[in-house]
């Protein structure tokens, strides 16, 4: 048995939709259990008093990265076949800024707003309506922003390629970053709690 399952023909188009649905349900469930269904929890990242979302995201990244690394090393997964999103760095910087502003203002990102809506939060529903309108607006305005959409195209790039370092070193580097991030985040949380207590 080897992965990626879809690309190696383990299941067809229809079955892939079911698989995607089940993975989506699992993703939503763990987002909700991680507290991502609450705008208060999410925006705490920006006030630095509760960085658990940051920690959870980085944990997910490190877990997935180590899993992919070792599955590939053991021969269960062909990394060459894993889909990579092409890098359009100008478009992605612009899009990241827009998403960041929306996140701070609205308290959700698209995925977490759906999670919030599913648990009956009205602000989540409003956010979903907002991003649906935004998506529609983007589609209608697409001829105007077409140039930006593909600006900064550098193709599919991986960090080992760009930095010219071996894959394993990069993996270790990201783990070090994550552990450093966790320790730093915990330190910041304590500082903020102490300041809140002092006031």
């Amino acid at each position: 048995m080897s992965a990626p399952f879809y690309k190696l023909g383990a299941f067809g188009d229809e079955a892939s939709l079911i698989v995607a649905f089940l993975i989506g349900i699992g993703f939503g469930f763990f987002l909700e259990r991680g507290g991502f269904g609450s705008a208060k929890k999410l925006v705490s990242q920006f006030y630095l008093n509760d960085l658990s979302v940051f920690k959870m995201m980085f944990t997910a990244i490190v877990t997935a990265m180590l899993g992919v690394t070792y599955l590939s090393w053991a021969g269960f997964l062909d990394l060459n076949l894993v889909y990579l999103v092409p890098t359009y760095w100008v478009a992605q910087v612009a899009g990241g800024l827009v998403l960041g502003v929306g996140f701070v203002v609205g308290g959700y990102c698209p995925g977490t707003s759906i999670v919030a809506t599913a648990t009956g939060k009205l602000d989540g529903l409003v956010f979903v309506l907002g991003f649906a309108a935004g998506t529609l607006g983007f589609a209608l305005a697409f001829p105007l922003v077409k140039g930006l959409y593909t600006a900064g195209d550098v193709g599919t790039k991986t960090l080992p390629q760009v930095l010219g370092i071996p894959y394993g070193i990069l993996v270790f580097g990201v783990v070090l970053m994550a552990v450093g991030g966790f320790m730093g985040a915990t330190w910041v949380e304590r500082k903020m709690a102490a300041r809140a207590a002092a006031e």
Binding site: K7, D13, T59, V62, T63, L66, T69, Y70, S72, W73, D78, L79, N80, L81, Y83, V85, T156, P160, P166, Y167, G168, I169, V171, F172, V174, V175, L176, A178, V179, F182
Partner: protein, 219 residues
């Protein structure tokens, strides 16, 4: 001495992640350059002629505007710039395994003759590319059979009809028919690649050729 029981669960998991990350430095996950072939499977496919498409088949695909395959010119950039079969993309021989080609893509490879494409075909099959084909006898055959079809001498009615169809196809690709080649005759001038086909497609309307493929992936 740091006791394990004094660590929180999060700290233990952090230590595990660090250990796995450190070990990953020694795990060889970079794609190698070796190939592994099942000789029997490969040779059976060749014997069944499942390894190639003919120039006529390819011409029909291009005219139909089929987009379910990628036509790959494995010659160098200069040769590609000078002339290439319409809709082809250029991936020089030495770069075919560098990632430009997807392993599940249907690929039709061609070089000048048949040999380089066949060598690339062998390597790609060995690297797990499952749907690779070569253009039979390469660009040479494309020129002889599609661009500059030879008028048969004293043809039968069937041969004549087939030749007339071939002339239509040749014109579509910017070529022209010729009389049986005399030894040492001047080679026919190749059509300019950039020029749009001057004549209407002989059978089906030509689409955009192998346009951008539908992406099923991504967020």
């Amino acid at each position: 001495m740091l006791s394990l029981s004094k660590l929180s669960l999060n700290q233990k998991l952090g230590v595990v992640a660090l250990a796995l990350g450190a070990l990953a430095v020694f795990a060889n996950v970079a794609p190698g350059h070796t190939v592994k072939v099942n000789a029997k499977e490969l040779l059976t496919g060749v014997a069944r002629a499942e390894d190639h498409v003919t120039p006529q088949e390819l011409a029909a695909w291009i005219i139909e505007g089929r987009a379910d395959y990628r036509l790959v010119d494995i010659r160098d950039e200069e040769a590609f710039a000078e002339y290439h079969i319409p809709t082809a993309e250029n991936v020089p021989l030495a770069a075919v395994t560098d990632g430009a080609l997807g392993r599940t893509d249907k690929l039709v490879l061609y070089g000048d003759g048949g040999i380089h494409a066949a060598q690339a075909w062998m390597v790609l099959r060995g690297r797990g590319y499952t749907r690779v084909y070569t253009l039979l006898e390469g660009l040479d055959a494309w020129k002889d059979e599609v661009l500059f079809p030879v008028m048969p001498e004293s043809p039968t009615a069937e041969q004549q009809a087939r030749f007339e169809r071939a002339v239509q196809v040749a014109k579509f690709f910017g070529g022209q028919p010729r009389a049986a080649a005399a030894p040492g005759a001047e080679p026919m001038a190749l059509p300019v690649t950039a020029a749009a086909p001057a004549v209407a497609p002989p059978t089906l309307p030509a689409g955009a050729g192998s346009g951008p493929k539908k992406k099923r992936e991504g967020c």
